[in-house]
């Protein structure tokens, strides 16, 4: 079975780059502008660049918020939120007024480190803090590209990987079939490619 990957195109973020990387991995990839089209997917990706409120408003405008909650609850599909897409999974952000999707308990906070430059921009590592059959080993000796001013704060039980910028913050999260990555796999060369390949391959095996 070929993985059917759907990338949510809600006018925010860059579905183009993610699509290009996924095309390299083979399989069917399409950008989806209509929430109804999410139903047949085996892997759904929510990209995102920009501000929290802008992201939530765009999702709601197109009816994706409801569709995403349904997928998360009901389907076998795996869901991956990237950068802002990961932050939107949580309950809310200090960056804005809008409530988030609320799929994972926790909030999004600003980096508030006197000495450090904000945004956190550049390459950094991920320390895997909990075992996961699909992703074990993919973070070893790897570096990923980060570009964000806000980071997630949540309970350890949802955290798969942590990254240090001043202090450690959750950079990879997971709850049931929902995953989030704070970095940009589509901008992280072979490391990003390896990560996405794990998602694509696992679905291929099912």
């Amino acid at each position: 079975m070929n993985t059917d990957v759907k990338i949510i195109d809600y006018g925010v973020g860059n579905p183009g780059s993610i699509r290009n990387m996924l095309l390299k991995l083979g399989g069917k990839v399409s950008a989806v502008t209509n929430p109804d089209d999410l139903s047949q997917a085996s892997l759904i990706i929510l990209p995102g660049v920009g501000s929290f409120d802008n992201g939530m408003c765009r999702l709601k405008e197109r009816g994706f918020d409801q569709a995403i909650r349904e997928v998360a609850r009901d389907s076998n599909a795996m869901f991956l939120g990237i950068c802002l897409g990961m932050q939107l999974l949580f309950e809310g952000s200090a960056e804005g007024e809008q409530p988030g999707l609320g799929l994972i308990p926790g909030r999004v906070m600003r980096f508030e480190n006197g000495n450090l430059k904000v945004p956190h921009m550049g390459w950094n590592r991920v320390r895997q803090v909990r075992g996961n059959q699909m992703l074990d080993g993919v973070f070893d000796d790897a570096r990923f590209y980060f570009a964000h001013s806000f980071h997630v704060a949540c309970a350890d039980e949802w955290v798969l990987g942590k990254t240090c910028y001043g202090h450690e913050f959750p950079s990879v999260v997971m709850k049931d079939n929902i995953f989030g990555a704070q970095f940009h796999p589509e901008k992280s060369h072979k490391y990003g490619l390896s990560l996405l390949k794990r998602f694509v391959d696992i679905k291929n095996e099912q």
Binding site: S17, N20, G50, K117, P119, G122, N124, Y145, L193
Partner: protein
Amino acid sequence: MNNKRVIPFLLLRDEGLVKGVQFQNHKYIGDPINAVKIFNDKEVDELVFLDISARKRGSINYGLLEAICSEAFMPFAYGGGINSCAQIERLFRMGVEKVVLNTNLIHSPGLLRDAVQIAGAQSVVACIDVRKTLFGGYEIYINNGREKAKVGLSEHLSFLVANGAGEIVIQAIDREGTAKGMDAGLIDMVAKTVGMPVIAAGGAGGMDDVKKILCGTEAAAVGAGSMFVFHGKHKAVLITYPSRTILDAAVGEHA
């Protein structure tokens, strides 16, 4: 973890890559797509493309950028002729990671705030080109270095901070293309003045210059052109990028 970056700054003129000295006498270097492929293979930290012909042409070359985007698996910033949020949104949708604003920061002061509002600070880079004055100060030049800006450097930096630019590029026009070393004093001054990451540009000739800036100033990154597209005294065109081992050795691991 070493967070400091070394970034090729590539200039576009219409469909080709070009390189000049002190913002003049630009010569054709090669095909931008080919350059992206080479930088991809070399696992470059990120790429910056600046289109020096966009303003005059009055349009952004979306076709070329789309082709570049489909090849680039690293963060990629674009600057040149950006003067509206619609353009910025279009650029993001195609895969451009960051937009670089320069002249229009001054000609359209509201643009920066609007851009940050839509895109988030991490996606908006403010580029400042300066020339040193006789008295040791610096003056900002816009429009590819042709027009002296009416605002002073200090005032402009305050404006950029107040309006939330995510990163600042500080480029010394006098040094640009010379490969004779960067202006550490200028760079450190700017980096110490603002809270966001500062990218130094203008004059990097080799890894020693890069190291001086990344280890000796508070700059977060170095942008370089000549160093990555030329080789040797006679400036033969050769697209290169140092290996991760060389980069880490020159810059050192920072916790």
